[in-house]
């Protein structure tokens, strides 16, 4: 094993591999920052350039680009509340409030360090868990995925600002919007009104561009002041503070990384759900859950650590079964074939050095992203204080181009505009936009896995799937925990007040 670890590293230490990784990382950062485009696009466009180069260099280019998109996505979520892709969603919840409080540098640095630590912890555990990967993948199925999605749903409570009723209504709206389009389970077009465009449903990144970015720009245009008015809010935070934050919350980082690793291992769960689950976990385990959604640094660290670790996990089904766990992994699989690498169970025994090369790529690419990220953070942190009259037209123009680029459909620009207005109204009347998108992300996953569970195991599927049952109990306990904690605290306070 140690031999394989060293061989994996040596293969990477060639000028070509290191240069390719650097190119991949810089390219991935740019793609990540552009709204509407994620890692899949980054990798797909690089693929034609990979033929004929070293195996390690090719993988360094592809994986490096993919890893860099994670932090790239987080940057715009934190600074402008514009998620670069679905993965960056959870970063809007606390990252953007931190920027508004004048803590952009701290948030960006915490996010980059969180992703780095997540990537490294994920890689280490991945190496340790290799023998467990196949049994775990085989043990979990649709019923367990359903429970995981339900867990993500428990975050809704956190964002029900103003009124619980309004918070829940917003999530119901999000779920219903996610059902627009062709239902693959029953081959029924739902809420499409005969429109060919709506058959494919509302694109999630486009809806987010509208709900968050367009509506925020509308608010800014009305206010006429920058996101952060430096005459009122000084940027007092430092990059170092953010780095320290990530290390100070090491236990949260470790938990989030493990969560991300295992969510990555399960094909069909996805990084956006991983981010939400990490956020849910951070809120539920916090002693001060009331700070979340208002600029708590833990709300930035947890999703980034999870997504950093998620990538390593995502490699496993691809390597262990030759089955790509997601779209980006499908592209990696194509590159494998081009390189003459045959994924399958042998990968985890005979070709371990190649597996470790990839683990090393994840680690080194994460380090490169963090170094570059921390270096550019002071400049990035100045962007939110740009004048509204400069910011609004630029961000709106980029968002409209990004919305169109997501799928190449001009109708998506209309969707972004409509969701922008809806987002503005929701914000005005305190219907949580975060709850809306959480409902939207999790709806399809919940519906599909519920249908599959019911068809495979019948109505009593929970009795047939003890792991799912245990997970349901866990979801219920973690969702109830804050209530119980609060009730006990109140009782203690009451007892204290009664005592003379």
């Amino acid at each position: 094993m140690i031999e394989a670890i060293l061989a994996g590293l040596t293969a990477l230490l060639t000028p070509q591999a290191l240069l390719f990784m650097l190119i991949g990382v810089v390219y991935g950062l740019v793609i990540g920052i552009l709204p509407g485009l994620g890692g899949v696009v980054a990798m797909a466009l690089l693929l034609p350039f990979t033929y004929g180069f070293e195996t390690a260099a090719t993988l360094a280019l592809l994986l490096g680009a993919h890893i860099a998109t994670i932090w790239g996505d987080s940057v715009t979520s934190i600074l402008f509340s514009v998620p670069g892709s679905a993965k960056g969603l959870a970063l809007c919840f606390d990252g953007y409030p931190m920027t508004k409080k004048g803590q952009a540098k701290r948030a960006l640095a915490a996010s980059a360090t969180g992703a780095l630590l997540g990537g490294i912890i994920g890689a280490i555990f991945l190496a340790l868990c290799i023998p467990l990967i196949r049994p775990v993948i085989l043990a979990l199925g649709p019923s367990e995925y359903l429970m995981m999605a339900l867990w993500g749903l428990t975050v809704i409570a956190t964002f029900s600002e103003g009124s619980l009723m309004k918070g829940l209504t917003a999530s119901v709206l999000g779920v219903l919007v996610a059902f627009i389009g062709m239902d693959v389970v029953t081959a029924t077009p739902r809420f499409t009104f005969g429109s060919e465009f709506l058959m494919d449903g509302i694109s999630f990144p486009v809806a987010m561009i509208g709900l968050f970015a367009v509506s925020e720009m509308m608010k800014l245009a009305i206010k006429g002041t920058p996101i952060v008015d430096r005459s009122l809010v000084k940027e007092e935070s430092t990059v170092w503070q953010g780095v320290q934050d990530a290390f100070r919350h090491w236990w949260l980082v470790a938990r989030s990384s493990l969560l991300g690793l295992w969510i990555g291992v399960l094909p069909g769960v996805g990084a956006s759900v991983a981010g939400l689950a990490a956020y849910a976990q951070a809120v539920q385990t916090s002693k001060t859950p009331e700070r979340f959604g208002k600029g708590a640094v833990e709300g930035v660290i947890a999703p980034d650590a999870t997504m950093g670790a998620n990538e390593g996990g995502g490699l496993m089904p691809t390597l262990a079964f030759g089955i790509p766990g997601g779209e980006s992994m499908a592209i990696l699989l194509v590159a494998f074939i081009g390189l003459g690498v045959v994924p399958g169970p042998d990968m985890l025994t005979k070709n371990l050095d190649l597996v470790f090369s990839m683990v090393w790529i994840i680690v080194i690419a994460n380090i490169a992203v963090t170094v570059i990220g921390l270096g550019i953070t002071p400049w990035l942190a100045r962007l939110p204080s740009l004048q509204a009259n400069l910011m609004v037209p630029i961000v709106l123009a980029v968002c409209f181009v990004g919305a169109y680029a997501t799928r190449g459909h001009i109708e998506d620009v209309v969707v972004a505009a409509v969701f922008g207005i809806v987002g503005y109204l929701m914000d005005k009347y305190h219907y949580s936009r975060a709850n809306f998108v959480i409902g939207m992300v999790l709806a399809v996953m919940i519906e599909r896995n519920l249908h599959i569970s019911l068809t495979l195991y019948g109505r009593d599927f929970l009795l047939e799937r003890p792991i799912a049952l245990a997970m349901l109990l866990f979801v219920l306990v973690t969702a109830a925990l804050p209530f119980v904690r609060n009730w006990r605290r109140k009782r203690r306070q009451a007892a204290g007040a009664a005592a003379p």
Binding site: V30, I31, L34, L37, L45, P97, K100, T158, S160, E161, G162, S163, L164, M165, K166, G167, T169, V172, L173, V175, L176, D183, V185, T186, T188, R190, F191, M218, A221, I222, K223, G224, D229, V233, T288, P289, E290, G293, N389, P393, I394, L396, A397, V398, F400, V401, Y404, G408, I410, V413, A417, K428, Y429, Y431, I446, L450, H451, R485, N486, Q493
Partner: protein, 169 residues
């Protein structure tokens, strides 16, 4: 005519009720499996909205503001954000914001994605007098060229050319 915030909230609730009712009607055309989740959810949405309306119109303000966070934990510590003078959005300001989105949308459909980006940014700078008209054009051109290089050249996006494109061919 000025509509009070109270009335505006009620209008929002009525619109939501209409939306959920529409979902229920549309669900009638689906098979039992396709409506298994949307139908009960829409009913749940109606119940939630009715409760919200009842609280809003007949409940005490405290109940209305019942916050999940306040259920979860003791009172929120004093706002961490520095107190900025809260300016209520004026009706003209809001109308201008809606108009801005409509103009960008119309430009995109008429002139195509890239020319719309140029026209909108240049126009915005000029209308708001952010900078001189010459600088406005320069800034807008720099942005548009960057967007073109990134999206069209590097990312191979096929740009939408707009409804007016045939006139220039």
């Amino acid at each position: 005519m000025k509509i009070s915030r109270h009335a505006q909230e009620n209008v929002a609730s009525v619109l939501l009720l209409a939306f959920f009712a529409g979902v229920i009607v549309l669900c009638q055309d689906f098979g039992p499996r396709a409506r298994m989740i949307p139908l009960p959810l829409a009913v749940f949405g109606i119940v939630l909205t009715l409760i919200q309306m009842a609280w809003h119109n007949f409940g005490s303000p405290e109940e209305l503001q019942m916050d999940m966070i306040s259920v979860q934990a003791p009172t929120i510590p004093a706002a961490e954000t520095p107190a900025a003078p809260v300016k209520k959005p004026s009706r003209q300001g809001e109308a201008a914001a809606y108009g801005m989105i409509a103009v960008l949308l119309a430009l995109t459909f008429a002139a195509g994605v890239m020319p719309a980006a140029f026209l909108f940014t240049a126009g915005y700078f000029m209308v708001t007098r952010y900078c001189s008209w010459r600088l406005s054009l320069v800034y807008a051109a720099v942005l548009t060229v960057s967007l073109y290089l990134l999206f069209v050249v590097a990312l191979q996006m096929q740009p939408y050319h707009g409804l007016l494109a045939p006139l220039f061919q």
